[in-house]
Every structure is written in C-alpha cells, then in structure tokens.
Amino acid sequence: MSISYESGILLVGLPETGKTNFLVGLDVILDDQVDPNGLVHSEHADDRAYLEPLRAQWLRGEKLDHTSRMASPPPHHLLVRHPATGTEAAFHIPDLAGESFDSQFVTRAFPNDFGFRIAAARGLIVFLHCCHEADHALFEHPHFIDAEAAAKAASPASAKVPDWSIELASKQVKVVDLLQFVAELRAAPLRVAVVISAWDLVENAPAGLLPKGPATFLSKQWPLLAQYLESNRDVYPFRTFGVSARGGGTSDEEIERLTKLVHARDRVILVDGDHRSNDLTRPVRWLLGLHEFPEL
C-alpha cells in the first residue's frame, strides 16, 4: 500500500496538550456543522477503527485514552467539503503521541516518514495547553521565597544538584526547537495554527489572571514561541486559536454538565480574536487558505 503524503495536516504538541480531543471534536463538528462557512464531511473514510472508539468516549464525556507512542495509530483520513466554495479536500492527519515529539527534541531527529510528511504538509497545528508552564520559574523574586527554608536547603556547593539534561528543557524551548527542525526541512512557507487548548479554563479564570485573547495569551505566556513565530512569518504564517474541544473538565459534575447539553457540538469552544463559535474547522480552513472567504 502506498501512502500519499501530498495532503497532510500535522498535529504537533507535547504530551497532554489536547491533540486527540481536537481530532475527535473536529470529527464530530464535521458531521454536525452549523456554520454555513464551515467544513463538513464529504464522506467518512473507509477505515475509522481508530477514531470510532474515541468518538464514543468523547460523546459520553469521558476522558480520552492516552495516545500510545509505542503503537502509533495510522493517520486518520479526513474527507471534507467546503460548501461555501464547493472545494473538496482529503487529508491524512496522524495523531502522534506527545511523547513522540518529546523524543524528537531529545534525539534531535525526525523519523524518516515523519520528515517526509513535514516536507509535504499543507499545514501544521501546534498545540499548547493553557495550564502548562512555558518556562522554568527562576529565583527572581527572593522576597517570595521562604528565607528560612532557602537557608536550610542545601547550597549547590555542598549538595548534589541534578545536572541539566536535555529532557529537562522548558516546554517553549522544545516547541521552538521542533519548529526550527521543521523549517530546515521545508522549502516553502508552512501555515501554522497555534491552538491553545482547554480554553474554557482561561475563560473561567479570574479577571486579570490570564490574558483572554488567544494571541495575547500566546505573547504573554509563551513569549519565546510567540516571538519566534512573529519574526518568522515569512516561513510560518500563523494564527492563534483558543480551543476547548471537550468543553470542560473531567469531574463527574463536569461530565454531567457536558452530556446534558442537547447538542454535543455545543460543548466545543473556539475563539479566534473576536470570533467565538464551536466551529473546530476554522483552524483547518485557515491552514487551507479558505478562511479569507467572506462569512455568509
């Protein structure tokens, strides 16, 4: 069987950043699209063995099984149509485990097949979790540190402090370096949709604690990544989205709240600047260049 890499959207993100939830939520929205400018399924792929059980879990409001790095699922085949323009497209979207990307950073290498997918990709969706710390906290504010505890703590001279190892790199350094790897393989610009997942937590955070716009969130919370993308717009034209693909938490109360909604699609939150909807196809349309079409 030959695999075509010609049409591919790649989901990239460290562990627990919402890639599988996005993929399943997208599948649900494609079947139940209410935005006249949104994408819909033109037909279902022949093989949905990977997605169907996850979709069932998602519909029940359960936490999805973790994607296994050891047994990576085959790329999901997505057949979509854009009713507003009549455009049809087919994509392979591999749902790689976050640990795979961690491993790529550590080994400083892409597996051969992933490298070819990158070289031929139409777009990249980069996932960040809104609760993940982009960087390690520094001893920058000593007045917030318990002086007594600090004094008791062993000094570097007297105690064994673990050496830095590459696995300990901060998250934003990992993501930026992975994007630098990608840039080395690409001859042409690659559109990037930055998805900040679990956006419901940002919306429910107390006022002033977190920036409420996705683009501002990225620049304040992930400054190195935001600056890298901003200064490499010629390589990576990018747009930032706030997404909650499952719509809430995994507590019993939250699951009950989510499942009581009449339409499963209503769980989904997508924020793009001032736009707010449950159309998870919007980032995909941006990657395809369909976003610029006027809203109907």
Binding site: F110, N112, L138, V176, L185, P223, E230, D234
Partner: protein, 336 residues
C-alpha cells in the same frame, strides 16, 4: 542516486554533498532497495533486508564548534562577541540572563528569531531555576574544554521587522584567563580573539570590594586589553565594553562610595590608556543575578546587547546569504 538525511543537501542533484563528499558521507541514506543476487553456481542468495531509513538529523542545541561557526559565517554576516574576565566574574551569568530575558519576553527592542543553541542557553540557566532544586540561584561555570565554542542567537529588530541579525557569543573560560594574560601564544590560540567584533570585559566587583584583590582585578583588565591589541591584526575595529559585574556587591557595601570611587579610577585609567586603540570603549555597571533586595540591571544588559547589533549589516529575510568567497569566517585560521 544517493540521498542525504541532512536538509537541503544538494547531493541528489549535484553528486556532491553539503560537506563536499561524493561518497562515504555519514549522512548519506542507505539504499533501501531489496536486492536479490544469483551466485555463480545458481544458488539464490537470500535477499538483504532493507535497512531502516535514516532519520532526519538536526543541530544538537548545544554550543557551536568553530567548524559550525565557520559555516554560519560563510553563509551570512554575523556579529561575534567575546566575553572575557577572571573566573567567577559573571560572564556566563550575563549570558544566561540574556537567554532568560528572551525566554520571558522582556527584551524591548528585539524579537527572538531563532537559535541553534537553545539547549546551551537552558543549561547555563538551570541552576537559577527553582526546578533544579539548587536552593539558591547559581550558574555553572564554563570549563576549559569549552574554549572556542559559541552560543548563537538570531534576533529581529522590532522597529525593522524585515531584518534579522545573527550573533555568535563565546565566553573565554576563566581557567584560561591567567594563561592568556601571561602568554601571547595562548591568546593567539583563541579563535575569537582575532575575529571578535565586540569584546565585553568583566571586572568582578566582588573583588573590587576586597582591598587585597582589587589591584589585581584592575591590573588584569589592563593587561588583557593590552594583549588584545597585540594579538589582533587590527584592534581599531573592535568595540569594547568594560563591565563592572556583580555591581550589587558594591551597592550593598557599607563603604560603597569608596568602591565607586575606585571604579571611577579604573575607568579613567582604562580610558586614558586604551580609548584611542579601539573603535569604541564604554563602561557599564550590571548585576545579572543580583542579591535579594538589589535592583535588576536588565536595561543595562539590553543596552550592551543592542550595541552588538549596531554595526552588523543585517540582511532582508529573503536574501540572507553570503558570497561564496567568505572573508570573515575562520578560514583564515586554518579551518575548512
């Protein structure tokens, strides 16, 4: 036709790889075709199993070697910065602070545009992070074995968003410093001494506040600057910044005025002796990692950083390539 795991290697089209090999390059991808060979007697030799395709490999993230730097300099203009000073004068902490400011988004005039050495920047900051469990901020020193290795950062001026500039920074290991002062030959061996566009020399205020050490500190600064003038073909194209590092040691001292006055004496002395020998000579007072209660000097550090970029011809983003006959790389020093 062979293929290569290195991005943008032209071997498939030209027959010569990025590193000049026609065969035998370790980056060449093994031929994965399954071969079946028939022996002379007619026995069928079992097929050789296809080897695993080579992965695509990328930069290590650690400090660049002189060879890697030479390749960068051959491709595009870049500013080379040499940080020098005695052991524990704060060179690496200064460098770590620059990396931290880009990571926390507090650099005001420049945007981070890339780095081949992100891991190296993380490494030098590690002991200042709470996650390290070190108990108090510290910086791992630069070892002798790290001589002639370089940090890399690419930035974009916020006011000029069509431009990018590359900076290569090396910190002379403090262990080597005495030998560089005492022997011209050792000084000559340091690749960055001859090639640097900017020198940042660190005078440790931790020594300045100690009357037993301050004269050696001053003497070391003058001798190093003098050595630079001797070892460089031209010193009038070198920008020099003399940094009074760990300034918080003076700011917190009970006899602060006395030490400030002594710094003034050092400044006058260096200016008198060296201002005409270099392209520029400036002085800064910084505390890259100040003690509790002492003010940050990020603005001063950013001012030094900004000066590194003043003279490099930053290129438009789409045409950042260099002449095939590089004039400013390490070729002149015997490297390929």
């Amino acid at each position: 036709m062979p293929t290569c795991s290195q991005p943008k290697c032209p071997i498939a089209s030209t027959g010569v790889c990025l590193e000049g090999h026609t065969r035998g390059c370790p980056h060449l991808v093994a031929d994965t075709a399954v071969r079946t060979e028939v022996a002379v007697e007619g026995d069928i030799v079992p097929p050789i199993p296809a080897s695993t395709p080579e992965p695509f490999r990328f930069h290590s993230g650690e400090k660049l070697t002189a060879f890697e730097v030479s390749r960068i300099l051959s491709a595009k203009p870049a500013a080379m910065i040499l940080l020098a000073g005695a052991q524990k004068a704060g060179k690496t902490t200064f460098l770590a602070r620059i990396g931290e400011m880009f990571r926390n988004g507090t650099v005001e005039s420049y945007r981070f545009a890339g780095s081949k050495t992100l891991c190296a920047f993380e490494r030098v900051t590690w002991l200042a992070t709470i996650a390290s469990g070190s108990g108090q901020p510290d910086t791992e020193r630069t070892y002798r074995s790290e001589k002639d290795t370089f940090f890399h950062i690419q930035v974009q001026p916020i006011a000029e968003s069509r431009q990018r500039a590359d900076i290569l920074i090396t910190d002379l290991p403090g262990e080597i410093f005495p030998a560089v002062l005492s022997t011209k030959e050792v000084c000559d061996e340091q690749l960055a001494v001859a090639r640097a566009d900017h020198l940042v020399f660190f005078i440790d205020c931790g020594s300045v506040v100690d009357s037993a050490k301050r004269h050696s500190e001053r003497d070391g600064a003058c001798r190093f600057l003098s050595q630079m003038q001797k070892c460089r073909h031209r010193s009038d194209n070198l920008e020099v910044t003399v940094v009074f590092s760990r300034w918080d040691k003076i700011a917190a001292s009970e006899t602060r005025q006395e030490h400030e006055d002594y710094c003034g004496v050092i400044e006058d002395d260096i200016t008198r002796r060296f201002s005409s020998g270099f392209r520029g000579l400036r002085f800064e007072r910084i505390s890259a990692r100040p003690d509790p209660g002492m003010p940050q000097t990020d603005a001063e550090i950013q001012a030094i950083f900004g000066r590194w970029l003043n003279k490099i011809p930053s290129l438009p983003m789409t045409t950042a390539s260099r002449t095939p006959k590089p004039a400013r790389d390490f070729c002149a020093f015997g490297l390929p």
